[in-house]
Every structure is written in C-alpha cells, then in structure tokens.
C-alpha cells in the first residue's frame, strides 16, 4: 500500500515526529553545553573587572573581594558563599536588573600596595542599544578619582560611538576626579573638547553615545555615592594627623580629636588652661 505523501495525516505525523526529534536533540545539546558557556561568561566578567583595576594579567579569585553596598553600607560576600557569589555575577549579567537595582549593589575591592581600589559595574543606554562596563575608583585627598574604565556596547556605530570600547577613549578617563568644587558629579564626555579637569573629550560623530556614557556614569556611580563619600571620610580620618600637639592641648582641641591623641595630651593633667593674653 503506497502512502499518500500529500495527505494531511501524513504531513501532520511527519511534522510532529520531526519537531519532537529536533526539539529533544537541541534541548540535550543546550543542557550539556550550558556549564561551559556559563563559565565563559563568568570568566569574561572577571577579566573585564581585572582590566578596570588595571591588573589585566592578575587572577580575580586571588586578589579581589566581592561586596554589596546598601545605603552606603558595605557587606562582604565571602568567597566560599557559592550562592552569594553566583548571585552577584548573575546580577552583573542581567543589565536590566542591574540598572534597576537600588540596594545590594555589587562592588569589587582590590587592596594592593596599601591602596584600595573599588570597581563598580556601570550600565546605560547608547544610541542603538545597551552600553555597559566597569569603572575603577580610588580615594584621593578629598575626592574620588577614576583609575580605570572599561566599556563595551551592543551595537554602537563602528568608528563613531563604538569608539567608547577602545583603549584610546578609555585612557582619557584615568585620573579624573568625580566631584567638582560644588561637590557635584562632574565627570562627563564634553562635546567640543574637555573644558575642565573633570571632563574628557567627546567623540566626534558619537555625541548621542557620549550622552549615554555621561548618563551611565552619573546614574550608576551616583547609586554608590553614599558609600563613596563614606569611604572618603574614613580615608581622610585615617590620614589626617591629629591637630593637637602637647603645647596646644586644650579642652576644645581634645574634643575634636579625642580618640587619636587622648593618650598623648588629653589626659587630665596635660590639659593646660589657655593663658589669658588680654591681661593688660
């Protein structure tokens, strides 16, 4: 009995069998390759973070502390907390969730040669699609300075907006202080060329992408402002010498820096009453 290959029954059975075979084949393939693919994505994130730190050849796992920032408070995620670490990297991989996050913001800390650097993920929108990257920051005097930045994009125009992914553009951000005299976030890509020490040259023909970079930096870094300011204050307190010397020990002075120099000069005996110079 010959089968009628153009009958509806034959066609339906044919398609059902085909789809079941193909579907299970692809499902099997996708599941078995998933661990390797995830490892690639994770490795790429780690390499980008190390690049932002300026330590492209160093091993992420040996050097970097992972943390979360909520309302300016830093909590470390322990290395052996597999689920916690995974959650951080999952968030990095999910740009939408990352841009909407307001608490438990991922941050990476690298302590080397006595200096502490922080890397924050940044996400935003360019002209055609998402732009993202990592920015590395360090405390300096009374400001926060960019020590490195890596940026990538989904589909900016080659030669124009896509230049943000090149080393040439990224190098320009190095050493820029985040806040200006008025304490406002001041780093931006300025059309027509940098006008002050906080700005970098925008890309000719890539204005919309540069606007996106500006918004990305202001918004993403802005979320960490409380933390960065807090870290700034601590850095200041650590470095600032105690203002009191033994000669000028006074109640007033001891009140300001009692902790640091209490032992030296603020014991009760050491406090001398200020001499009244208006005795004449």
């Amino acid at each position: 009995m010959a089968i009628n290959k153009n009958s509806n029954t034959y066609i339906i059975i044919y398609t059902v069998v085909m789809v079941v075979i193909v579907g299970s084949l692809l499902a099997f393939l996708a599941t078995s390759l998933k661990p390797q693919q995830d490892a690639n994505v994770l490795n790429e994130q780690k390499v980008s973070i190390m690049k932002a730190f300026g330590e492209a050849d160093a091993n992420f796992d040996d050097m970097v502390k992972i943390g979360l920032v909520t309302e300016g408070e830093f909590t470390e995620v322990a290395k052996d907390d597999k689920a916690g670490v995974q959650a951080v990297f999952d968030l990095l991989g999910n740009r939408k969730a990352l841009s909407e996050a307001t608490a438990e913001l991922p941050i990476f800390v690298l302590e080397k040669d006595g200096a502490t650097k922080y890397v924050l993920p940044i996400v935003g929108k360019g002209l055609w699609g998402d732009i993202w990257g990592y920015v590395s920051l360090q405390q300096a005097e009374d400001n926060v300075v960019i020590t490195g930045i890596v940026m990538d994009h989904a589909g900016e125009t080659p030669g124009l907006g896509a230049e943000i992914a090149t080393e040439r553009v990224q190098k320009m951000f190095e050493g820029k202080a985040l806040y200006n005299e008025a304490n406002e976030f001041a780093v931006r890509m300025q059309k027509g060329g940098a006008q002050n020490e906080h700005q970098v040259d925008a890309i000719t023909g890539g204005t919309k992408t540069c606007d996106g970079v500006n918004a990305m930096l202001a918004i993403s870094v802005g979320k960490y402002e409380a933390f960065l300011r807090g870290a700034e204050a601590t850095a200041e307190a650590d470095t600032e010498e105690c203002a009191c010397s033994e000669e000028e020990c006074s109640e007033e002075c001891c009140g300001e820096c009692a902790d640091e120099c209490a032992d030296e000069c603020c014991s009760e005996e050491a406090i001398v009453e200020p001499v009244n110079v208006e005795e004449e």
Binding site: K5, Y14, T15, M18, L25, L26, L33, E44, G159
Partner: protein, 200 residues
C-alpha cells in the same frame, strides 16, 4: 569525474558569492578581521554540507507541500548546533560574529543548494556539493577579510604586519562599504579571466 566537477565548480566558475551573488550580507559584516571570517566560513560550510546531506536523505519522504518548512527546520537546527558550540568553545569569536551565526539560517546559499541540488541528488553527492559551496563562500570571505584586516588594522590574524613598516591604518577599510567594493573588484578580476561569464 562528475564528483570532482561537483567539487571544483562552486570554488571558482560557479562560486556562490561572486557568480551567483548569494550570501553578500554576511560577507560584508564579518570580514573586518580574518579570524571571524574564517570561523564564519567554516560554520557555513558545516551547515551547508550537513543540511544538504540530511535533506538528501529525507528527500523521498518529505511531503512536497511542506518541504521548505522542513528545510528550514533542518538548517535552523544545524545553525543552533554551531552557535551553541561556538559559545561554549570559541566564546570570543562567537561574540564577534554575534547575530551573524544565527543569520546563517537566512543565508541564501544554504537554502539555495538544498532546494536546487540536495532534493534531486544522492546523499554523498549532495554532501560534497554542500562542502564545495561552503568552501567557495569561505574562500571569498577570507580573501575579503585578508585585504580589510591588512589595510584596515595593519594586522593578519591579529599579528602586526604592516604596522611595523610605519603604515597608517586606513579605517575606511573597516566599514562595510569597503567589503562591497572589494567583492566588486574580485568579481571584476574573476570575470575578466572567465570571459564566458561576461554579459553581452
């Protein structure tokens, strides 16, 4: 005799890109550097060869009313296989090729060969035809990428070549229109050699 002709024809005299003008869009997009062009060429060769093989094996059972859909399913499956493997084992390249791997599905060469050749020929012949057409495509891709990477970035496979002679990179070569112009030049050279291809 017939088999070897099957194999050599698509490489030169009946090249899918420069004679049949198929698969131009991906040829413009992935030829900035040699490495992605090379991988793309191999991917298309793989997809083309195996879609031809499978469709040839299925050719007697496929209901002719839905044969295009069946072709698409077979081709799409193979493309997903390639895409998944690239993502797992050649992550950097797969990022550079981005959507163009997925777009192999719509590459006219693949479906063109299945429809024109595999449905009417034996599996082994079809397989050879697929490999040859894929290689014909890959050859043009690599040729275009060679010129674009050499003059656009001064490198070949990422190694400095021209840069050490003080060559200033011509970034015009990195834009898609230059790929079209290079393909145009290749077609010009090819037709001046093969006079029978010239239209009167």
């Amino acid at each position: 005799m017939k088999l070897s002709k099957n194999f050599t024809n698509p490489l030169a005299a009946n090249n899918p890109v420069i004679v049949q003008i198929l698969g131009i869009c991906s040829a413009l997009a992935v030829t900035v550097k040699l490495e992605p062009a090379f991988v793309m060429g191999l991917s298309v060769t793989f997809v083309c060869a195996f879609s031809n093989l499978f469709m040839s094996l299925l050719r007697k059972g496929v209901p002719s009313r839905i044969r295009i859909i069946v072709q698409l399913v077979v081709i799409a499956t193979l493309v997903i296989v390639v895409d998944q493997f690239l993502r797992a084992y050649m992550y950097d390249v797969s990022k550079q090729l981005s959507v163009y791997v997925g777009l192999i599905i719509t590459n006219c060469i693949v479906m063109g060969r299945v429809e024109a050749f595999a449905l009417g020929n034996k599996p082994w012949d079809s397989f050879v035809d697929g490999v040859a057409n894929g290689l014909g495509y890959a050859f043009i891709l690599v040729l275009v990428a060679f010129f674009r990477e050499l003059f656009g970035s001064g490198t070949l496979f990422g190694f400095d070549v021209l840069a050490r002679f003080g060559y200033v990179n011509n970034s015009l070569m990195l834009f898609p229109p230059m790929a079209l112009i290079i393909i145009g030049c290749i077609i010009w050279v090819h037709r001046s050699i093969n006079k029978d291809l010239q239209e009167k």
